[in-house]
């Protein structure tokens, strides 16, 4: 294919990606070093109230935003260097907390709290998703052919459901005296509230994520299981391998590329955990990096959006995802070079 034809085919897609993905990245990068604020001026205001004999007048100095002819506030954009990053990271508090050796104090700072949750969420759910997905795939592969269709149908439901709704549906089972909380209270005989402390919410979030992603892993593993080489399996049987040994030495190595694929996708998706925070309404207890940026961007009561802090926190989020992906990407590159020679 000539370069010109190739460019014509790929052009629109590349253009959209450059305009809406690459360009925003650059602008976020620049924004993170800037602050846009309304220009304020101090004016003397004399207010008079009618009084007996003479009016009572008071003068005070007020700070008001400067308005232009159209009545809009005039804003200025200043370069502030790393100021926004400092605001987000709060390194002075962080180091003093490290100096005290106090984990709780570090967790008081939003960014470090979000980072801690995002990382533990990503790394803890990863083995669970792969394990549960593999277990379901093996069990379905074991089942009679006629019930496989309906089982796949039911399994797809948690995967396809809107993430916010999915986490809400679990939230409603546990909220207040929801049906499952009531059941646990009956068993344990004590009052349980699942949404009053961070660790129970976090537990439910892990559960939700595994519930949501395991079907994806299952479908892929199930497809992989169909292509396991029967001859290798049979020779393993002849060699006297037990069921467990066959799983470990024949099936899992066969599925290894798929496991890596799922791990990669899962790392990307989990790192941007966000919908759970909305669904479980956990912002008071548990927040994630992406939610932190979202929160900076949501207008506050005065209608201001903290864009520069949002940009700084999203640049920091970016650095994290680059670090996470550097190893798998280097591998792909080496494979590509290997195949070229």
């Amino acid at each position: 294919m000539k370069f010109k034809t190739f460019a014509a085919f790929v052009g629109p897609s590349v253009f959209m990606m450059l305009l809406f993905i690459a360009a925003p990245l650059v602008s976020v990068f620049i924004q993170s070093f800037q602050v846009t604020q309304p220009i304020l001026e101090q004016i003397e205001v004399e207010t008079c109230t009618p009084g007996f004999l003479t009016q009572t007048c008071t003068t005070e100095i007020k700070t008001v935003p400067v308005l232009d002819e159209a009545g809009k506030t005039v804003t200025e954009t200043r370069w502030v260097g790393l100021q926004s990053y400092r605001n987000v990271l709060q390194m002075d508090k962080f180091w003093s907390a490290v100096g005290n050796g106090s984990w709780n104090q570090i967790m008081q700072i939003d960014f470090w709290k979000a980072l801690r949750f995002t990382l533990s969420f990503t790394l803890l759910t990863l083995p669970l998703v792969i394990g549960v997905g593999l277990a379901i795939a093996l069990a379905v592969n074991n089942a009679t052919r006629s019930i496989r269709g309906p089982i796949i149908f039911i399994s797809l439901l948690p995967f396809i459901i809107t993430p916010v709704i999915g986490s809400l549906s679990i939230y409603w089972l546990f909220v207040g005296d929801g049906i499952l909380t009531a059941m646990m209270e009956r068993w344990s005989g004590q009052n349980i509230s699942m949404f009053a402390q961070a660790w129970t919410i976090e537990l439910l979030m892990y559960f939700y994520r595994v519930w949501h992603v395991a079907p994806f892993a299952f479908v892929i593993f199930y497809a992989g299981l169909q292509t396991v080489n029967m001859d290798t399996l049979e020779s393993a049987v002849i060699d006297g391998a037990s069921r467990w040994e066959r799983l470990r030495h024949v099936i899992v190595p066969h599925l290894m590329p798929l496991i890596i694929f799922i791990a990669l996708i899962h790392l990307m998706d989990c790192y941007r955990v966000f919908d759970e925070i909305v669904g479980f309404r956990s912002q008071a207890h548990v927040i994630s990096l992406q939610w932190l940026t979202f929160d900076f961007m949501t207008p506050d009561d005065a209608g201001n959006r903290a864009m520069s802090r949002a940009s700084a926190s999203s640049m920091l989020t970016m650095i994290g995802i680059v670090l996470l992906l550097i190893i798998p990407l280097r591998r792909t590159w080496r494979d590509h070079k290997g195949s070229a020679h």
Partner: protein, 385 residues
């Protein structure tokens, strides 16, 4: 025996694998099933302590809303025939009345007509007939299962949820059509070109796929809010403010979706033998003609599958739509967040549940109809990528 003896499994293993599977199915379906049940009950029942009360709904029944045995029996029969008819007669009808080139359009129209007829019969005609029957039959006609549609009426009627529904449909339809048009071209180009540039584009797309969406939205927001000033030199007075515009959100979602789309379509196109378009080229077609005449007729399975996933992305998105759309143009998923702020009484809570079920229902239908395509799409991405 088809399986060799050594491969046969002990009873204990078969039993535990079956039990595990049953447990998983219960776990997978229960939360969704349960919110569906809750949405039909009065608030007292929906948040009752005992599961049995939630299912049978005594308080709902006491309010006079309920189904008798006759209602249930007749409802199940009608439902059964409706579903059977949809899978046996409907495809034939669509094929008969639709001009051959427009089969996709024919299916959309057919599905719409079917849905409207079903709603009319099931929620219009059936209650009238059953009301008469119930009063005639005495004991058989007394309600046994509490059930009310009042929350749905409140959500769709009073709260004007249909506006959000229409916005959602607009956004998802736009996302699916545009990302497929742009994506098929790019996917084909990437699949047929073995150059280093193609490889680097794919890697770049992979990196773009990993980006958290909030990073991108942080880039859009200031530009979108001030876009009328920024674009004024180009468009003059009529320069639009992009913030709150559904089509701006469509463009954003299409671009976010593009990396995934081109990866998936590329793997589908690689499965179409290259000899096919080479033959067309030998016969004197240009690359574009070959694409249009030879590839397009055989690419539909891949396009449908990719379209499904684009649909899911547009439909399920919360973050982008919540930040870039204003209240009038809000789609369904962010709109449900509006219920949180209002959710003070238990009635509001059950209304939120009903809204959630309303959002889930189309997805449920989607899995039912397109299960095979979804599975093939999931595996195609993995096995090739």
């Amino acid at each position: 025996m088809s399986t060799p003896r050594a491969m046969r499994q002990s009873f204990a293993l078969r039993f535990s694998s079956g039990a595990f599977l049953a447990f998983w199915c219960l776990l997978a379906a229960f939360p969704i099933f349960w919110i569906a049940v809750m949405s039909f009950k009065s608030p007292v029942d929906a948040f009752a302590d005992s599961a049995w009360d939630v299912i049978t709904g005594p308080a709902t029944r006491a309010n006079g809303d309920g189904l008798s045995i006759i209602d249930i029996a007749l409802g199940v029969v009608v439902l059964f025939f409706a579903i059977r008819w949809a899978f046996t007669k409907l495809p034939a009808l669509v094929r008969q009345y639709c001009p051959p080139g427009l089969i996709v359009l024919g299916w959309i129209v057919g599905a719409l007509v079917y849905a409207i007829t079903f709603v009319l019969i099931f929620f219009g005609l059936l209650p009238i007939i059953l009301g008469a029957l119930n009063s005639l039959l005495g004991p058989l006609g007394t309600p046994v299962l509490g059930m009310t549609t009042q929350h749905y009426i409140a959500v769709w009627g009073e709260n004007e949820f249909y506006r959000n529904f229409l916005n959602s449909m607009l956004v998802t339809a736009g996302v699916v059509t545009i990302s497929l048009t742009v994506g098929t071209l790019a996917g084909y180009g990437l699949a047929r070109s073995g150059s280093d540039l193609a490889f680097w584009l794919l890697i770049l797309a992979l990196i773009f796929r990993a980006l958290p969406h909030s990073v991108l939205v942080a880039g859009y927001l200031p530009v979108f809010i001030n876009s009328s000033e920024i674009l004024a030199p180009i468009f003059g007075e009529g320069a639009p403010t992009l913030y709150g515009q559904p089509w701006a959100v469509i463009a954003v979602l299409v671009s976010i979706n593009q990396p995934f789309t081109i990866w998936m379509l590329r793997s589908f196109f690689q499965n179409i033998p290259a000899e096919l378009d080479e033959a067309a080229r030998v016969d004197g077609c240009s690359h574009f003609q070959a694409f249009r005449r030879v590839i397009m007729p055989v690419m539909w399975p891949g396009v449908i599958t990719t379209g499904l996933f684009s649909f899911l992305l547009g439909y399920n998105d919360f973050l982008v739509t919540a930040l870039l759309l204003d209240a009038q143009n809000q789609t369904m998923v962010p709109a449900i967040a509006g219920y949180f702020n209002r959710e003070t009484t238990t009635t509001d809570q059950v209304e939120a549940v009903a809204a959630a079920v309303s959002i889930t229902a189309p997805l449920f239908l989607l899995v039912m109809v397109f299960q095979r395509q979804i599975v093939s799409g999931l595996t195609a991405g993995a096995v090739k990528g």
